[in-house]
């Protein structure tokens, strides 16, 4: 008995230690995800695996999906899947003290799940209630000030970082969808979302194909796209000093190209 309590205490201790370490690593990072990449060799391995997964499973599946499923049905599935993510977004918005958005998404979920027939139709959008996406990674950033930590490319889930990877895990374990609609079956929702993900791969085929198969270094481009996009998402835009002005620095480019005017 005593020994099991001791073991439990030790487990708690180690998990606290792990959590503390995560916070330390993340906190040392700037709020912006200007990323160094200490796990690059792992990440590149993981990226190679993800490319294989895409090339042999996701891409062919999405191409089949594109042919087999009429586009109206595909967007219907997309909307239903996106609707299922609303309770989670709303919960995170409440955790981020963004009550307005939380209420907004809750209303969206309620209206679209009922009038919109389980989210098949985005009725709320017609009255200007568009989606505000968020996740637990954003909560860790907004409410706890946690920096991104190092960049991580997760196997199967793709580009992320330490903070957002943890966020993803938390979001999957504590999804309020099942508290709100207890009749939903976890396995059913997951397989439905998997189908929707295949549809999403099809809808975003040009951008994914460009990134994965037409870049010089698909790992580097994926990381850059993800990092910039994620920063932008979390900050709702970039601070002024983050903008590059390509006009600053060197001489007159037109003179360089065409010679001095008059020649």
């Amino acid at each position: 008995m005593v020994s099991s309590i001791l073991i439990f205490a030790r487990q708690v201790q180690t998990s606290f230690a792990a959590l503390a370490m995560v916070i330390l690593i993340c906190a040392g990072q700037p709020a912006l995800a200007r990323m160094n990449d200490p796990f690059e060799s792992f990440n590149r391995m993981s990226h190679t695996g993800n490319l294989l997964l895409d090339r042999y499973i996701a891409k062919p599946a999405s191409e089949f999906y594109g042919k087999a499923v009429p586009s109206e049905v595909a967007s219907l599935i997309q909307r239903m899947s996106s609707n299922l993510s609303l309770p989670r977004a709303a919960m995170n918005q409440f955790l981020q003290f963004q009550f307005e958005r939380g209420v907004h998404n809750s209303l969206r979920f309620f209206v679209n799940s009922t009038v919109g027939l389980a989210g098949a139709f985005d009725v709320a959008a017609y009255v200007g209630f568009y989606e505000y996406r968020t996740d637990f990674g954003a909560t860790l950033y907004n409410s706890f000030g946690l920096g991104s930590g190092p960049y991580i490319e997760l196997p199967a889930f793709g580009p992320s970082n330490l903070r957002d990877g943890i966020g993803l895990a938390v979001d999957m374990v504590f999804n309020p969808l099942y508290w709100v609609v207890p009749s939903l079956d976890v396995a059913g929702v997951i397989s439905f979302n998997a189908i929707a993900a295949v549809g999403k791969r099809h809808a975003n085929a040009t951008i994914v194909d460009t990134l994965f198969y037409e870049s010089e270094d698909s790992y580097a481009q994926t990381k850059l796209y993800y990092t910039q996009n994620r920063e932008f998402e979390l900050l709702g835009g970039f601070p002024e000093e983050d903008y590059m002005d390509p006009y600053i620095g060197t001489g007159d480019i037109y003179e360089e190209l065409f010679g001095p005017f008059g020649n």
């Binding site: 967007s75 985005d122 951008i207």
Partner: protein, 220 residues
């Protein structure tokens, strides 16, 4: 990666330079015409671009973009049209210089011109394909604000069943003409992405700009 270097070796041998050369001839006049006016104006002109002027430029570009993007033409034709619009509305030479980075300084004028032209087609192809699906009537300009020496025009694509898509257009008159110099799609800057891509390409080719031009030309 191994494939890549093997491919480029073959290309260095093959008469692929003709690709770049014919491109040069095809596009040089357009580029020259588009920039002739710019050359005449001293580029050190004081910053005077207003938000409204920048908005107007982006409005014009977007209206062409929508009209062409929504028509039934093939992706190939769309890309050609998009490239024309880019040549007219955007400052490709400055983006090309920024993408090449430091090596630009040591490049010959011939290399600079060839790279600029190949780069223009590369950008048109890559971003034309990506952006075409946003060429809907739901794409609308929201606001404009001054940042540093230029203006950022914000636009949004609202759509049912998903989060609105944020597209920003950076406009500057530093060249003497009002021109677009970056497109930021959901936070991803075209200029930054291309800087990374082009500089990686150049690194892998050990700084050989001619080889870079050939290989980039072959992708088009």
């Amino acid at each position: 990666m191994r494939n890549c270097s093997a491919r480029s070796e073959i290309k260095a041998e093959s008469p692929n330079f003709r690709v770049a050369n014919s491109l040069t001839r095809r596009n040089l006049f357009g580029l020259l015409a588009a920039t002739a006016a710019a050359v005449a104006v001293p580029s050190s002109a004081a910053f005077s671009l207003t938000e409204n002027e920048a908005k107007k430029l982006v409005e014009n570009l977007i209206s062409i973009f929508k009209r062409v993007g929504q028509s039934e033409i093939s992706d190939e034709k769309f890309i050609a049209e998009f490239e024309k619009a880019l040549g007219q509305f955007s400052d490709i030479p400055i983006i090309a210089r920024s993408a090449l980075g430091r090596p630009w300084r040591n490049a010959t004028r011939q290399q600079k011109i060839e790279f600029t032209l190949v780069f223009q087609s590369h950008v048109a192809r890559k971003y034309g394909k990506i952006l075409r699906k946003f060429a809907s009537n739901e794409l609308e300009i929201r606001s404009a604000r001054k940042i540093k020496n230029f203006v950022e025009v914000s636009s949004v694509v609202r759509r049912a069943g998903g989060q609105p898509i944020d597209i920003r257009w950076l406009v500057s008159d530093k060249s003497g003409q009002t021109k677009l110099f970056d497109i930021i799609l959901e936070g991803v800057s075209m200029v930054r992405a291309e800087r990374s891509e082009i500089q990686l390409m150049l690194d892998k080719r050990k700084g050989d700009i001619d080889l870079l031009i050939t290989d980039l030309g072959a992708r088009i």
